[in-house]
Amino acid sequence: MMSETVPKLRTCLLAIRKFSTAPPKVPVESRQLAFPPKYQKPRQAWLENFDTIEEKKLGIIDLHPEIFAANPRIDIIQENVRWQSLYRYVSYAHTKSRFEVRGGGRKPWPQKGLGRARHGSIRSPLFRGGGVIHGPKSPTPHFYMLPYYSRVHGLTSTLSVKLAQDDLHIIMNLEIPTDEPNFIEELVRSRNWGPSVLFVDDVDIMPRNITAATDKIKHFNLMPVYGLNVYSMLKHDTLVLTRAAVDLLELKLLTSLHKNDVKPCAEKFKLNQV
């Protein structure tokens, strides 16, 4: 019964569509995904314009579920944030031991006969103004390297979280008609992109207008794909990726997830210098 009516309905609908006054359907961007997903369906996102203040949907693009619909591991995200804040932190807290504090070489009073406790130095840790036992020494670096795949999964988790929370937008390119900051401020306000926005492009040489417009606004930041990191994604309310940035980001993350030889990146961190 159903098998007969469904094709009939479909042809009927197609015939009616010709007379419809509704705007034509949004074209779906054909985007062939590398490493086609075996189970998960591709995530879809709107492709928006960036040259006018009012939002125009230019189409829907498919996103790879391995990158944009990964398991949101908040523990891995936390590891990444901790690593990013610690690897560049150097503690300058410093204390002096009993041998570094000035003086204290002479025995303060004789060992016996005075009825006082025996002491060998006035800089002993028992004394006021004496040295500190096991105190902090400067400089103490807190550098460590997070395992390679923790870093990769941190990025995929954060991107998935951002997309799931509707905080990720994809635009054609970063070309705007004017270098006035008002334009970009009004655009962000009208599209409800939140106070802070991170714009990501594929290369680090960006169009002149966007760089001039966002130069003075401290909560609008520009970043190339190679600089994208977990901390910045979480710090900004909205992540705006260009179409080219999405392609490059997917290429980079998928190649690291499907790498043949993982030994060089899994081994102990070595500084890239002689």
Partner: protein, 178 residues
């Protein structure tokens, strides 16, 4: 470098019609790496060599280079090693993804110097609780009359089972074409 790399790049270049619109006279330079820095002196190569740009010859060079990405397995009627490729599970309620090297993600975890043995199944997608139910019926028959100790980690998408059941679970997954 072999078949996958050019394929991947062609796919991505096909999907990038907007990049060619970019008119940049400047080039992106990253000086963060040691390799990107210039030599202090001109390094002379004493070995005589001949540079060629014929693609026919480059084909033989590519053949020697190791693959950078894990290639997709070629479909064969029968595999000598007993390894089987994963079947199609698009409409299944749950799915166990293969590892990067197309192996089943079932691992043995030996703790306390061999005193404790745990089997861990990773990369479970979809309904993990339904998967646990099906696995439980299989394993309970297997280890009768002992009680089955099994822990589902829904957050990390893992299942941990007390005891060494790696081969049994791999066989069971193979039967279900995972």
């Amino acid at each position: 470098m072999t078949t996958m790399r050019p394929l991947l790049f062609t796919i991505f270049t096909k999907t990038k019609p907007f990049q060619c619109l970019r008119k940049t006279s400047l080039h992106q330079i990253r000086n963060s790496s040691y390799e990107s820095s210039k030599f202090l002196v001109d390094v002379e190569v004493s070995t005589k060599y001949e540079a060629t740009k014929i693609p026919e010859e480059w084909k033989y060079v590519e053949r020697i280079l190791p693959p950078t990405l894990v290639p997709e397995p070629q479909p064969l009627p029968e595999y000598q090693s007993g390894w089987k490729p994963q079947g199609d599970h698009k409409d299944s309620p749950y799915f166990v993804e293969r590892s990067r090297n197309h192996m089943m993600p079932v691992y043995l975890d030996v703790r306390q110097r061999g005193v404790k043995r745990h089997t861990i199944i990773k990369k479970i997608q979809g309904d993990i609780w339904l998967f646990e139910k099906d696995l439980r019926t299989f394993l309970e028959d297997l280890i009768k009359p002992k009680p089955l100790r099994l822990q589902v980690n829904e957050f990390a998408r893992k299942i941990c089972i007390n005891g060494d059941h790696v081969n049994a679970i791999k066989y069971w997954l193979g039967e279900k074409n995972f």
